[in-house]
């Protein structure tokens, strides 16, 4: 159909029904797209990343916050001091901060928030963050003294996460559906399944945000996401779900396509307890058998290869990408040494994301080259959590571990890939209890090296963050050090 015919059809069918387009006013609002809808709007009551992507730094704030560059910055705590033993944190709190319902923010809120998170009936998905806290004391309303049971190097980081935002006792019970925080935006309404609307907080304690209103719309279908961007219905899609449309969008001057990093470590997880994977030679053989560059290319070419469970660019990163170069011959030799016969079958369980489903096919073809028959088993997310994560019923799976600073999962007693190395655990324990920055960096390097040496999982690539937004927008985050769409600095330029 030509443009002319299309116009005629459009005009005859619909134009008479439509009102004239409203005059374009100077824009002071923003509409963002997100692939998934948050189930609730309380980040302390659910693990879904989408909860934080709507509420973090917009509605709720913590004592500290994670800045766009991934570093810890002050928020509701103006400053803090730490005793030399690393056990006592004294926070000087913002005075004058208020919750959206008018309730004051002071030390009693800090105490309530932290005690609630660690209580027996707490459903905070990161309860472990609060477990080191021995007590929270309030010498005066503007000072909070948090005492730890043991030194915890990541404490300030953890208190800046969405799971540790300040919750008022008055609204704690209703935050899931009617969120009340101290942030620069207040909740306006939520059309379930479609959108959440926020408005500028007129009584905000800090510098007022430049935009007056923000709408988050939930669009999971890639073609619908592309259409909504192209039609101008959306101003930004910070985690754009349609990589195949990027070339088209790049050509359009109206949009900026911004590729950044996430904290997603995409790995082929190995059930370390099952034969033959308990043999390190088999795990190394799998690493040699996979051509990471080709895999990344097949998935759109945006990921960055990794050699351990750590993202390039993070503080203390050690480049181990070259540890197991692509070498099918060597892989075959290692497999033969470990007694794995050509034609051995392994199941590869694939959760729904594209990197797993499409990546799994590519990896199966690569494994075929070294004589391994990978049986691909697509599973939906609920099945993955049940079979793989809960019951460890798998040989291999592909998954992106998206939480930042999660080297602890290799030190846990029970975690689905069953990596149980006393040496690693001892090292991790030491890392947790060390507060000297230089020593911490050194230990961080040792942890990464140990994981690579044991090749606990096959480390594939860091997941890219593909942002698409209106070229006139500024202040959106390029990288994603934490799940967030922080709108406090977003503005329109002309």
């Amino acid at each position: 159909m030509t443009r002319l015919q299309a116009t005629l059809l459009a005009t005859t069918l619909l134009a008479p029904l439509l009102p004239a387009a409203p005059a374009l006013a100077a824009k002071d609002s923003i509409t963002l797209g997100m692939p998934l809808e948050p189930p609730v709007l309380d980040p302390t009551a659910g693990a879904a990343a989408a909860i934080k992507e709507v509420t973090y730094a917009n509605i709720y704030q913590g004592l500290t916050r994670i800045a766009p560059d991934g570093n810890v910055a002050p928020q509701l705590a103006k400053s803090w001091t730490i005793t030399p033993d690393g056990l006592t944190y004294t926070f000087a709190l913002q005075t004058g901060a208020k919750f959206h319902d008018g309730a004051p923010f002071d030390c009693s809120v800090v105490k309530f928030t932290y005690e609630r998170a660690v209580a027996a009936d707490s459903t905070n998905s990161q309860k472990g963050f609060f477990e080191p806290i021995a007590s929270t004391a309030c010498p005066n309303p503007a000072t909070a003294v948090v005492t730890l049971k043991r030194p915890t190097g990541l404490f300030l980081n953890n208190m800046g996460s969405g799971d540790a935002v300040m919750i008022s006792p008055a609204s704690a019970a209703t935050n899931k559906t009617n969120p009340v925080g101290t942030g620069p935006f207040v909740f306006k309404r939520w059309i379930k399944g479609d959108r959440v609307e926020l408005e500028r907080n007129p009584n905000y304690w800090g510098p007022a945000p430049k935009i007056a209103a923000a709408t988050f719309r939930f669009i999971s279908d890639p073609s619908a996401a592309t259409a909504a961007i192209m039609a101008g219905d959306l101003d930004a899609f910070p985690l754009f779900p349609a990589p195949e449309s990027l070339d088209t969008i790049r050509k359009d001057k109206r949009f900026a396509v911004v590729i950044g990093t996430t904290q997603g470590k995409t790995v082929m997880s190995i059930n370390n307890e099952r034969a033959p994977f308990s043999d390190v030679r088999v795990r190394r053989a799998l690493a040699h058998a996979i051509d990471r560059a080709a895999l990344i290319d097949a998935l759109g070419g945006l990921g960055k290869p990794i050699g351990s469970h750590y993202i390039p660019g993070n503080p203390g990163y050690v480049d181990l990408v070259g540890a197991y170069p692509y070498d099918p011959a060597k892989a075959q030799k290692l497999l033969a040494e470990a007694g794995v016969k050509p034609g051995t079958e392994m199941t590869l369980k694939l959760p729904p994301p594209g990197y797993a489903r499409r990546g799994g096919e590519v990896i199966a073809a690569m494994l075929e080259q070294v004589g391994i028959k990978a049986k691909l088993v697509p599973v939906e997310w609920a099945q993955w959590l049940d079979q793989v994560f809960k019951q460890s019923d798998f040989d291999l799976t592909i998954i992106s571990h998206v939480e930042p600073n999660d080297l602890d999962i290799y030190a846990r007693d029970k975690y689905y890939f069953n990596y149980k190395s006393p040496a690693y655990r001892a090292l991790y324990q030491k890392y947790v209890e060390t507060t000297n920055p230089a020593d911490r960096t050194d230990l961080l390097g040792q942890l990464q090296r140990k994981l690579s040496e044991d090749e606990a999982n096959v480390f594939l690539f860091g997941l890219a963050k593909t942002g698409v937004w209106n070229a006139k927008l500024t202040g959106l985050w390029e990288n994603q050090p934490i799940f967030a769409n922080d709108l406090s600095a977003v503005a329109w330029t002309d």
């Binding site: 299309a6 059809l9 029904l17 693990a47 559906t177 479609d194 073609s223 101008g232 609920a382 994560f389």
Partner: protein, 317 residues
């Protein structure tokens, strides 16, 4: 008539009870736990146990079933696991999208299909008939999601006169909300109109060959009058049957179109609830949809009665 109504009502309740039992059992068997889905991969065992207790998942299955059914009987649909809001509220919001969309689509498809179906029958074998039936054949083969994407590209991207998707809500006014439904309604209606026009055509052809139409022509009625007064009314029973089926489908079977247009309708709610294992929402929706199909079928039966006085329910049963 009273006996008929009582029989239908008893049948309705039994069917709903059976549906509730089947869906409950199926959801017990399939793997996946709503609590672990909510806590994701960072969950610790004690947090998971606390959440399961809070959600009531640690109670035996039969108690959960009886609590649920008991609630339904008193009009309490329960609280959604994932959304933490009353299911009745969730469903009510979605019905405000799905029901208007279904009604709009069915109106569109009927308005298009019946006239052209009758026209094709009246012009049987001639150019008009061939053209209409060719177009209908094309329409039947047309996947509605593809048509949807095409309409978006045309009317939202190339000529941005309608939104590409989403739903602003009725509280923003009748017209802004209706605008969101126009493209999805056309995407759903056109393929359905294609089917309906073919059914209309063959039904009218059938009645055109009947004695009463020949008699009507013999007593001096014009072809057009005979067609509209005698052939078409008598052809409506199969047409109404198809409309009933299509309407039931439109209420919740439109998940793909809802995805393409990012519409918060019932179909997507079912889909989300299943993938999130929001068991209570799935259970409620299945029972509700089973109920609505039964009610639509009942209305279709009543329509038969109006369309053809010869049908009596005592005789038909």
């Amino acid at each position: 008539m009273t006996a008929f109504l009582i029989r239908r009502l008893a049948g309705l309740l039994l069917t709903l009870l059976a549906a509730s039992l089947v869906v409950f059992l199926v959801l017990q068997v399939i793997p996946g736990d709503p609590a672990s889905l909510m806590l994701d991969t960072s969950a610790r065992a004690d947090t998971l146990a606390a959440l399961r207790h809070q959600m009531g998942l640690d109670r035996p299955a039969w108690i959960r079933y009886l609590t649920w059914i008991g609630g339904l009987l008193t009009g309490d649909f329960g609280i959604s696991y994932t959304y933490a809001t009353p299911v009745s509220e969730l469903i009510a919001q979605r019905v405000m999208v799905s029901l208007p969309l279904a009604v709009l689509s069915i109106c569109l498809s009927t308005t298009i299909a019946i006239p052209i179906g009758v026209l094709a029958a009246a012009r049987r074998g001639r150019g008009t008939d061939v053209a209409i039936m060719g177009a209908a054949q094309f329409g039947v083969a047309l996947p509605n999601f593809w048509l949807g994407i095409l309409l978006i590209l045309l009317f939202a991207v190339a000529y941005p006169i309608l939104p590409a998707g989403g739903f602003v809500g009725w509280e923003k006014g009748f017209w802004p909300a209706l605008r969101c439904l126009i493209l999805p309604a056309f995407s759903l209606a056109l393929p359905q109109a294609a089917i309906l026009s073919r059914v209309t055509r063959s039904a009218v052809l059938e009645t055109l060959g009947q004695d009463y139409v020949r008699t009507a022509l013999a007593k001096g009625l014009t072809g057009v009058a005979a067609l509209w007064r005698h052939a078409v009314p008598n052809a409506l029973i199969p047409v109404v049957t198809i409309i009933g089926l299509q309407f039931s489908f439109l209420l919740a079977g439109t998940v793909i179109i809802e995805n393409v247009f990012a519409l918060p309708g019932l179909g997507r709610l079912v889909f989300q609830a299943i993938s999130q294992r929001d068991l209570i929402v799935v259970q409620d929706l299945v029972v509700l949809l089973a109920g609505s199909v039964i009610v639509v079928n009942f209305l279709v039966d009543l329509a038969y009665l109006g369309l053809d006085p010869r049908i009596t329910h005592e005789g038909a049963k």
